[in-house]
């Protein structure tokens, strides 16, 4: 899939814009509450736990675990050439932070639930789209 990047159709809101820009410096950021320190995803206008409005993006390690995934054999959106993996990744900082993503740099049939993964970013116009690959993948 990489090298011939699919159309990402990112349409950020004012609350989520940081998420899609975060990778510009190579770091993934997730919204965190400045009062109760809980992580919040998708980001919103206030902390859903303590209702503080003191919420903002904070860097995370960018590592996590594949919670589940599907191998798409159908071109659901033109430009997404099958097969491609759509997965939910749970971040190490808080497994309730569940991120939809593509698993790349990995043979399709090697993806599995419980697999350790790390973030990387794909530039798409003004956005840096978070993708994940097997943890410890050598960068080329």
């Amino acid at each position: 899939m990489r090298g011939d990047n699919p159309p990402r159709f990112v349409l950020a809101s004012s609350e989520s814009e940081f998420y899609w820009r975060s990778g510009a410096d190579g770091r993934l950021r997730i919204q965190r509450c400045g009062e109760c320190s809980r992580w919040v995803h998708p980001p919103g206008p206030a902390c859903p736990f303590c209702h503080s409005r003191r919420v903002g993006p904070e860097p995370v390690a960018g590592t996590g675990t594949v919670a589940t995934y599907t191998i798409n054999r159908k071109e659901w959106i033109p430009g997404f050439t099958p097969p491609y993996v759509f997965a939910f990744v749970e971040l190490d900082e808080d497994p309730t932070v569940r991120i939809g993503t593509n698993i790349v740099d990995c043979e399709i049939d090697k993806v599995e639930i419980g697999m350790r993964v790390e973030v990387l970013f794909e530039e798409s116009g003004e956005w840096h789209v978070p993708l994940f690959r097997p943890a410890g993948t050598e960068t080329s």
């Binding site: 699919p6 990402r8 159709f9 990112v10 349409l11 950020a12 809101s13 989520s16 995803h41 998708p42 919670a67 589940t68 995934y69 599907t70 191998i71 798409n72 054999r73 159908k74 659901w76 959106i77 997404f80 097969p83 491609y84 759509f86 997965a87 939910f88 309730t96 569940r98 991120i99 939809g100 993503t101 593509n102 639930i113 798409s124 789209v129």
Partner: protein
């Protein structure tokens, strides 16, 4: 138990329009056909109809027709009208009608759900997407899935199915029993889209769509309208085809209202929705004679079977395997008119219509002595259910 307001209502009429893969008829045309049949079936005239309720309340291939369109097309005079998409799934239109009747705002509410996803869907050049897709460019919660090519509910449901298989050992052969059962039952339904025989080997051989879901795990977009009349129970003795009672309705949305952020990746909102239905009745799952459970994707039916309590959590695969338990002679005859996988994606209202027919003793594959039917519709965070009885509850 305090009075259950839903028991003030009955379903006095039910009907469907022509149903087909590509009819190239307008949504309101199909809606009028179903509505007039349902009103006649209820022994009423349009002058008796004083309420309209529908889901989702907009046109297009998914929406079908607006309540106002039917209102205008039949020159109805209404005391109450309701439509919306933020309901407990598509059956929310029925829940709302029941509430309209129970509170006295209306006496006879015409409820409909129309789809033109067959001819109005992506198969027709120049039209928008149907079948749960077409949400590219959404700034809402789908903004976190669309950029990854997960544009269809198939992609999201497949993730749950995969985790269910991982955690509980559910197999594709077990999942396939839902599709095979639906096809076998669709043969007796003259309005069904697909009636060619299907074996489990056919199922296992067909192409994958979003692995582990194959083509036969996905319902078939179609054109059609279903209408029911929800009336006050006082009218039950006068309903010529027999009134169906509303024993309990399930409406709860207790977890995160999200396709991707629900806490448990092996169940969906129907877990809470069905629980809320059982909290409102003295009946139990053992009283259910047949279940009409949503099969927009086959895995959703497994989730509904577990949510309703026909088996324990994680046991639905073994429960349906081979089709014996869910067949017409099984302990819980399931989707006896073919469900959406074979009979067409009428968005839960095909299931509702079949439930009414079963309770009237008028189904094509009739469950003998049928007195209680559980109907559940929807997936993800959009789920709702009804417990219906023969005669007023």
């Amino acid at each position: 138990m305090s009075e259950r307001m839903e028991r003030r209502a009955v379903i006095s009429g039910a009907a469907q329009s022509e149903v087909g893969r590509r009819l190239y008829r307008t949504g309101i045309d199909l809606t009028v056909e179903a509505a007039l049949r349902a009103v006649e079936d209820a022994g009423l005239t349009t002058a008796d109809i004083d309420g309209v309720s529908t889901y989702p309340g907009f046109g297009g291939s998914f929406g079908g027709a607006m309540g106002a369109e039917l209102h205008e097309a039949l020159r109805l005079s209404l005391n109450w009208r309701s439509a919306g998409v933020e309901t407990a799934g598509p059956l929310g239109a029925v829940h709302n009608a029941i509430l309209g009747v129970a509170t006295g705002l209306a006496r006879h509410v015409l409820v409909f759900r129309t789809v033109v996803e067959g001819s109005g869907g992506p198969l027709r050049p120049g039209s928008g997407g149907g079948g749960g897709g077409g949400m590219a460019g959404s700034a809402g919660p789908f903004q976190f899935m669309i950029p990854y090519g997960a544009a269809s509910a198939a992609c999201w449901v497949a993730c749950y199915a995969r985790r269910h298989m991982h955690d509980y050992g559910t197999t594709r052969t077990q999942l396939g029993a839902i599709a095979v059962n639906g096809r076998a039952n669709a043969v007796a339904n003259p309005k069904a889209i697909y009636t060619d025989p299907m074996t489990i080997d056919d199922y296992l051989a067909v192409r994958m769509v979003s692995d582990p879901l194959c083509l036969y795990d996905c319902d078939v977009p179609c054109d059609g309208s279903t209408a029911v009349v929800v009336s006050h129970r006082d009218y039950a003795p006068d309903a010529p085809a027999g009134a169906v009672g509303v024993n309990a309705m399930g409406t709860a949305i207790r977890g995160r209202p999200s396709w991707d952020q629900f806490d448990d990746l092996t169940s969906m909102m129907m877990r809470h929705t069905a629980a809320s239905m059982w909290e409102r009745t003295e009946l139990t799952v053992d009283d259910v004679d047949t279940a009409q459970l949503y099969d927009g994707f086959s895995w959703l039916t497994l989730a509904w079977i577990e949510a309703m309590g026909f088996c324990g959590k994680g046991e639905s695969g073994a429960f349906v395997e081979g089709g014996v338990n869910i067949g017409p002679d099984g302990s819980v005859p399931l989707n006896t008119s073919g469900g959406q996988l074979s009979a067409g994606r009428l968005h839960g209202f095909g299931h509702l219509h079949e439930a009414v027919m079963q309770l009237r003793g008028a189904a094509n594959i009739q469950v003998p002595g049928c007195e209680v039917v559980a109907v559940g519709a929807g997936g993800g965070p959009e789920t709702g259910c009804l417990l219906l009885t023969k005669g007023p509850s």
